[in-house]
Amino acid sequence: MAGGQERILRGRIRSVQATKKITRAMELIAASRIVKAQMRVQAAVPYSDQITEVVKDLAAAGAGRGAPLLVGRGEVKKTCYVIISADRGLCGGYNTGVQRAAEGEIKVDVLGGLGYELVTVGRKADNYFRFRGYNRNANFAGFSENPTYDQAREIGKHVVGLFESGEVDRVLLVYTRFISAGSQEVVLRPLVPLETETVEGGDAKPAGGGGDYEFEPDPETILETLLPRYVEARIYAALLNAAASEHAFRQRAMKSATDNAEELIKSLARIMNRARQDSITTEIMEIVSGAEALGTGKATNVRYVDLDDSEITQSANALVSSAGTNNANDL
């Protein structure tokens, strides 16, 4: 009967409403976390600015001509990609963007006959590249939403180790840069060797501050301890950017999911009302036609067969109930 369809629709609406509540909650959570993540990005800026300054000062003093982390190796035979993705899904195109950018680069390398290693951060990228059979060197996961410096240090240690052992000749970072809550972009940044403009001190410090530093111990030794810290700071900044971007993507994805749920509820409600109206109309039709059949039947029977109309009433009733109305008896 028609009421069945209505019940099914009611059930679907309820389930969409429940989903909507969840996506709404996720949206709000993500929105509040963007702010926090953004503040952490800001808070990390002074350290990375100053450590960059120090590297520049050292480079200006002539240190680091021989440091492989700075000057790199002439020929690049193998590249290590550090791909920063999320641990969880439900964040729109966030993971796909990073994965696609990295995969494109890797394909170019492979076509050019060059080797690659993958260091993935976050479960999603790991799953993606494992499924497609790429060489995965290492995975760091479980902190994509809330990275700490310790995790950056671990990743840094690993990639610096890869580079220093000669296993790879350069390291690239692939992550999503957080520009504002409304815009993020996937970027590919060289991590090791460090960018040349940094090393050469291209945008030199304003006059008066630079030059003529006293070093203790000598510049080379300082640089040796400093460069791994610098790499870590860069990774940390990338992790924080990625975390903020992840929240922004998730917020947007959940907002559109909530909007879609709302729309779906609206259209389902419309279909349900329609179905209910239809079933009411059908019922009325049935009742009316039943009553009519009954009325005319009675009238003729009254006229012709006075004594025994119970049998006819019964058959009329049977006719009405076979038409599917429960209310025939209420008449």
Binding site: A44, E53, A152, G208, G211, Y213, E216
Partner: protein
């Protein structure tokens, strides 16, 4: 002069100071007074003291890092640095004792590092008192 202690996660401390004492990797403690020549040094685990303009002293346990002095500004960059009020002293005492116990049996670079961290913490919170003081 302006002194700031910066960790990767945040600026731990910033303020006007008259003197800063810290310890470099190679040659021990060094003090900076206002107007110090540009200086760049790698730091070791140490108890850094910042003498404030109002006469108070800010104690910081710095676990490695760098110090940069220029333009009458002292920047201390450290992966891990703790202000004295953030340090859990009883925990540091326990860590020190455990590390010393361990080092009596065998030498282990990691434990030695944890001992020097504990020393830096204890020094920043009133000195290494009691058992085997002055091991630093």
């Amino acid at each position: 002069m302006t002194v700031s202690v910066v960790s990767p996660e945040k600026i731990l401390f910033t303020g006007e100071s008259t003197q800063v004492i810290t310890r470099t990797l190679a040659s021990g403690e060094i003090a900076f007074l206002p107007g110090h020549a540009p200086f760049l040094g790698a730091l070791t685990e140490c108890h850094t003291r910042i003498y404030m303009a109002d006469g108070s002293i800010v104690d910081v346990a710095v676990h490695g890092g760098f110090v940069e002095v220029s333009n009458n500004k002292v920047n201390i960059l450290s992966d891990v640095a703790e202000l004295a009020e953030q340090i859990d002293r009883p925990r540091a005492v326990r860590a020190k004792e455990a590390a010393e116990e361990h080092l009596k049996r065998e030498h282990d670079a990691e434990v030695a590092a944890s001992l020097s961290r504990a020393h830096a913490r204890l020094n920043a919170t009133g000195g290494v008192t009691g058992t085997s003081a002055g091991a630093h």
